[in-house]
């Protein structure tokens, strides 16, 4: 077995992972960094982020205002100390990226441009046309090439983490290109493997967003937090789920029902289309229920109309919206409204960390969508998560390098390595009657139909039952591909196992939270209940399965109030 040592290992090469790697290289240039990613870093799903990145960069804005918007948006479940740190650090990280060459869009005077975004009370979303994530990821990847001490292990798939005592000590990974296995050891680790919305059948996520990091960390005793909170974005294209950015509404787009009415005036007249995503998505569901939506082969939808912006503005500010609508819905938004419906988009929950990104496993830090710090609480504001990747990616890199300098390499238990080797070999060779894609589809349908925007006890119980049965069926899936090189059927099998862990954590937490808050709507408990549920739920691995625990929310100066806009 090959053993590959370094000071720090970064798991995942998206926005958060690359930012962490650069932070290590810059704060402690002597440290060796190995970055492991199951796809080339530039393929990470950060690439698809469109609308922008939030930060206080203009005179008319203030930290106070960004904090309050974020906390109100979170329905008071964000940890306020983390939010304060986040808001103050975000502008630095945005300027820094600017210094590294990220081509932010500009106002005429040459300063960085900002646009309006849902739930933000002033224009504070910095953007690079409507391909913000793409430009950010490119700038970060290109910047990372400056540092020879960062070594990339691209297309390596991490299958297991190893602990020695309380400390994270190593991990097991497979090189897809040639099937070789290796143990990576390091003094500190950063987990930045992204989100998990592939557990739903209708989602905006890329094929890689399978919650691997959440399941890997859970398996070695890290706590998961806020797993019931999943964001449904109001405007996905029917059938594919491909996202139409909130920037389209930020630039002035309307949402219309089948009577041609801007229906948001019934639900949120003060904000209209620019309400927070949980409220806008629920409003669309209400329109659908009231029979005021359009019916299509892939379900009911409403219209997003940007025709009044005119071709010039659309091409300048929203070129990707047009490109995507033309290519994937065969509609030209310059001339026709775009059909849209709510779609699973972002995972608020994730691996529990403190505000310095430390998990409860020593030496393991987490940042980006895989982590739950939490600045997002029960509902993330659009454009906060790219900023989260930079702020907490950087923090995780700094923390990991500090930790790595104070500690020594540990020897991973040979027995555990052999166990994993045996498990992998057996999986490759498994002959079973179950079909991989059928089990996956079944999970995705269960989550979509029973654990979607509106939930209730009966359906959640049914979902839990279904997920547990699917975990059993997973054990009987046979593989057709027996080759060791680039076996994507095999990696899909591992990813499905991880998604089933995330799904179970989601359903169990959703059952336990008997209230409605942010993205989590219980039709049987329609009100927010601060007395009993102003708290996080942690999910931990016990001897007989998942255990739920309470964890306090940190309130600094914004006392919970009714969430009014």
């Amino acid at each position: 077995m090959q053993i590959i040592d370094s000071d720090v290992v970064i798991i995942g090469g998206g926005g958060a992972g690359l930012r962490a790697a650069i932070a290590v290289a810059e704060t402690a240039p002597d440290l060796k960094v190995n970055m492991i990613s199951k796809v080339y870093p530039v393929r990470s799903h950060t690439v698809s982020a469109e609308g922008g990145i939030a930060g206080v960069v203009k005179e008319d804005d203030s930290f106070e205002s960004h904090c309050f918007d974020t906390i109100r948006g979170s329905d008071y479940l964000a940890d306020q100390d983390a939010v304060e740190f986040f808001v103050e650090d975000a502008p630095k990280r945005i300027y820094e990226l600017e210094e590294w060459g990220c081509p932010w869009s500009r106002f005429e005077d040459g300063t960085i441009a900002v646009r309006a975004f849902g739930g933000m009370s002033v224009k504070r979303t910095v953007y690079a046309a409507d391909k913000t994530g793409f430009y950010m990821l490119s700038a970060l990847w290109e910047r990372s090439l400056k540092y020879p001490q960062i070594k990339n292990y691209d297309e390596w798939h991490v299958t297991r983490l190893f602990r020695v005592g309380e400390k994270m000590a190593g991990l097991y990974a497979i090189n897809l290109k040639n099937g070789e296995h290796a143990v990576f050891r390091a003094k500190a680790f950063v987990l930045s493997t992204g989100g998990a919305c592939r557990i739903f059948s209708f989602n905006t996520n890329g094929n890689i967003k399978t919650g691997d990091g959440m399941a890997l960390a859970y398996n070695i005793g890290a706590s998961l937090k806020d797993m019931e909170f999943v964001q449904f974005h109001p405007t996905g294209l029917p059938h594919t789920g491909i996202l139409i950015t909130e920037g389209a509404r930020g630039e002035g787009g309307y949402l219309l029902n089948n009577k041609g009415e801007r229906f948001m005036k019934e639900y949120l007249p003060a904000k209209m289309e620019l309400g927070p995503r949980d409220i806008v998505s629920r409003s669309i569901v209400s329109e659908i229920k009231a029979g005021r939506a359009f019916k299509g082969p892939y379900g009911s939808y409403v219209h997003l109309d940007i025709r009044h912006l005119g071709e010039k503005k659309i091409m300048e500010r929203l070129p990707l919206v047009r490109e995507v609508a033309l290519e994937f819905a065969h509609i030209d938004p310059v001339h026709e409204p775009i059909p849209v419906m709510p779609v699973a988009h972002y995972y608020m929950g994730g691996v529990h960390t403190d505000k310095e990104t430390a998990t409860n496993v020593s030496g393991l830090y987490a940042a980006g969508e895989v982590a739950c710090v939490t600045i997002n609480g029960s509902n993330r504001l659009g454009s906060n998560s790219l900023a989260e990747c930079l702020v907490f990616g950087n923090a995780a890199g700094v923390q990991a390098s500090r930790f790595a300098q104070e500690t020594a390499l540990q020897t991973v238990s040979e027995a555990e390595v052999r166990d994993e080797e045996r498990r992998i070999t057996q999986l490759y060779e498994r002959n079973g009657a179950e079909n991989l894609s059928k089990v996956r589809e079944s999970m995705q349908r269960t989550m979509h139909e029973l654990v979607g925007i509106e939930r209730n006890e009966k359906e959640l119980e049914a979902a839990l039952d279904a997920i547990l049965k699917l975990q059993e069926r997973w054990k009987r899936i046979g593989l057709q591909d027996k080759s060791k090189t680039f076996n994507t059927e095999f990696t899909s099998l591992l990813e499905l196992e991880n998604m089933l862990v995330v799904s179970e954590a989601c359903v169990r937490s959703a059952l336990a939270r008997e209230e409605s808050r942010g993205s989590h709507t219980r039709s049987d408990f329609p009100a927010r209940d601060d007395k009993n549920f102003l708290k996080h739920l942690l999910v931990e691995r016990g001897a007989d399965g998942m255990i739920l625990k309470d964890h306090p929310v940190t309130i600094t100066k914004w006392q919970p109030q009714e969430r009014k806009y």
């Binding site: 393929r43 600017e98 060459g101 081509p103 040459g110 890329g206 890689i208 090189t485």
Partner: protein
């Protein structure tokens, strides 16, 4: 839902085979299906060993490039409906095949790395000092769009793994940083692009720009780099901006 019957021919190769072979699949295709959807449907229901890369399915991550009916394209944005009833899918050309449609593109990534595609940190960290007018930004608008799908490398009649010519996308990347108004040390990228391993192999056929799904126009970038290299601009001039 109305469907049409399509014949999908996919080039297969796995270690141990003497040479790649075409395999035929049949599929009931819906009107919305892309070539990527078709391959996923085949993988899910007919042959789990069919191997290809994909992730974003929105033409942004650059994973799913392949040669479809002779043309290098992103499969996720190639609609089946517009293709004849028989569709032939092969791996990108000019790269060694790893398995089925998966090719080894590390050489192209290395070539991108070799142009030093980054700015050195310039000034104070915390303020918005680096003004860039919309017009200046426009100069890099095209060349900064590259998604590293390597389609241009497949279309290029000159590029070969391991040989000196840097290839189209690496040229576009170098050009992106040279045309960048905030860059104070353009020498770094220019030297890399106009050195021995740089642009000189380009015969300016322009196939790369025709094939590029993001309209990056690498051929134009290579052409401009050649001119800059030939003029051998004195350092002063170049670093003035």
């Amino acid at each position: 839902m109305a469907t049409t019957r399509k014949k999908i021919l996919v080039q297969r190769y796995v270690e141990g085979m003497e040479k790649p072979e075409l395999q035929e699949f049949e599929l009931e295709a819906t009107a919305e299906m892309t070539v990527l959807d078709a391959l996923n449907a085949i993988k899910d229901t007919q042959d789990g060993s069919l191997t290809f890369r994909w992730s974003c399915r929105m033409a942004l991550c650059g994973s799913c490039s392949a040669v479809v009916n002779g043309k290098p394209v992103l499969m996720c944005e190639t609609s089946l409906k517009k293709l004849p009833d028989t569709v032939r899918v092969e791996p990108l050309r000019n790269f060694p095949i790893i398995k089925d449609l998966v090719v080894d593109i590390d050489d192209a990534f290395e070539k991108m790395r070799s142009v030093n595609p980054y700015l050195d940190r310039m000034e104070a960290r915390v303020e918005n000092k680096h003004l860039q007018s919309p017009a200046q930004r426009k100069r890099i608008a095209q060349s900064s769009q590259c998604i590293k799908c390597m389609i241009c490398y497949s279309a290029c009649p000159v590029y070969k793994v391991g040989e000196n010519f840097m290839g189209p996308a690496a040229g576009a990347l170098a050009y992106r940083y040279i045309a960048e108004s905030r860059n104070k040390k353009k020498r770094r990228q220019l030297n890399a692009a106009t050195g021995k391993k740089g642009v000189w192999g380009c015969s300016f056929v322009g196939e790369c720009s025709t094939a590029c799904p993001k309209r990056v126009d690498p051929a134009m970038a290579l052409q401009r780099l050649k001119v800059m290299g030939a003029l051998n601009l004195p350092k002063r001039l170049l670093d003035k901006e």
